[in-house]
């Protein structure tokens, strides 16, 4: 998958059929992180903080629902992937790439959490077995698609 041109405020990517299948496979996992995963503060402890934490979780849940609808709409939209000579052309606007990046990072971080939050620099290595390999695969796939979009946005 690569950026082939910009058209007004939109970016057009060439994507092969296998890549398209992989992108769909990844996006269908969204969301992986629960709304209660994020904390507003590491130290604050008060009734007011608890209320603000609850509001944050509600807001993140609403955001996830919005993103989930966007993903569903994108996967179901017939003209989104235009057939081309060597696969398809995927056209996305800047805001669409922003929520796709959020979605992909949710899947990447969620897969990493499912792997046990490995951190090789701290000596916490990834354990590979039948249970963990699918999570590792999704984490890496999500990261690969993220890099394609980030490179496109930065003009690389």
């Amino acid at each position: 998958m690569k950026l082939i041109r910009t058209k007004r405020d939109k970016l057009v990517f060439a994507i092969s059929l296998p890549e398209k299948r992989l992108l769909f496979e990844v996006l269908k996992l969204y969301p992986l992180i629960s709304a209660t995963h994020h904390r507003l503060s590491k130290t604050a402890r008060s009734a007011k903080h608890d209320e603000n934490q609850r509001l944050l979780e509600e807001s993140l849940a609403a955001q996830r629902e919005e993103n989930r609808k966007n993903v569903r709409a994108m996967l179901d939209e017939p003209g989104r992937f235009q057939a081309a000579a060597s696969g398809f052309q995927l056209t996305l606007s800047g805001p669409e790439i922003e929520w796709l990046l959020q979605v992909l990072n949710d899947i990447r971080v969620g897969s990493w959490i499912a792997l046990g939050s490995p951190d090789p620099e701290q000596g916490k290595k990834t354990t590979f077995n039948e249970k963990t390999v699918p999570h590792f695969r999704m984490m890496e796939l999500a990261g690969t698609f993220q890099m394609v979009f980030l490179d496109a946005l930065s003009g690389r």
């Binding site: 904390r39 507003l40 209320e51 949710d106 990447r108 980030l150």
Partner: protein, 141 residues
Amino acid sequence: MNCSVGCPNRNSALETAHTTVNQTITGALDSCARTFYFPVMATTATPEVRPGIHRDEETDSSTDLEPGYRVICWNDPVNLMDYVTHVFQVVFGWQRQKAEVHMMQVHNQGKSVLTRESMEKAEFYVHQLQKYSLHATMERD
């Protein structure tokens, strides 16, 4: 608020109305956790009711409105460096160079203080960063 000037119930009516309006407004602003000032209406017919300022006892404006909250991004080994840089650029409107400096701080030192803000603004930034699944919190100075 329908009592006329001189009505013996006017004071209590005003107080009731004031309390109701104040509760409504402070309730609506509760999510922002800000102090709200609502002056009691002055009246010439009942001079014993002095204008005053109501202060919400649940909040502390001196700290909530001052930039006493640090917005911190913590290191998560899973987040891509380019992604973190991009998110800082989008959320704070920074140039790439500044965003990269903070990204490298997160990477090398485990965290970076991105900004100091009032409580309300700090909450906003933390929310924006968490929308992108970055590990961000707000801590008091």
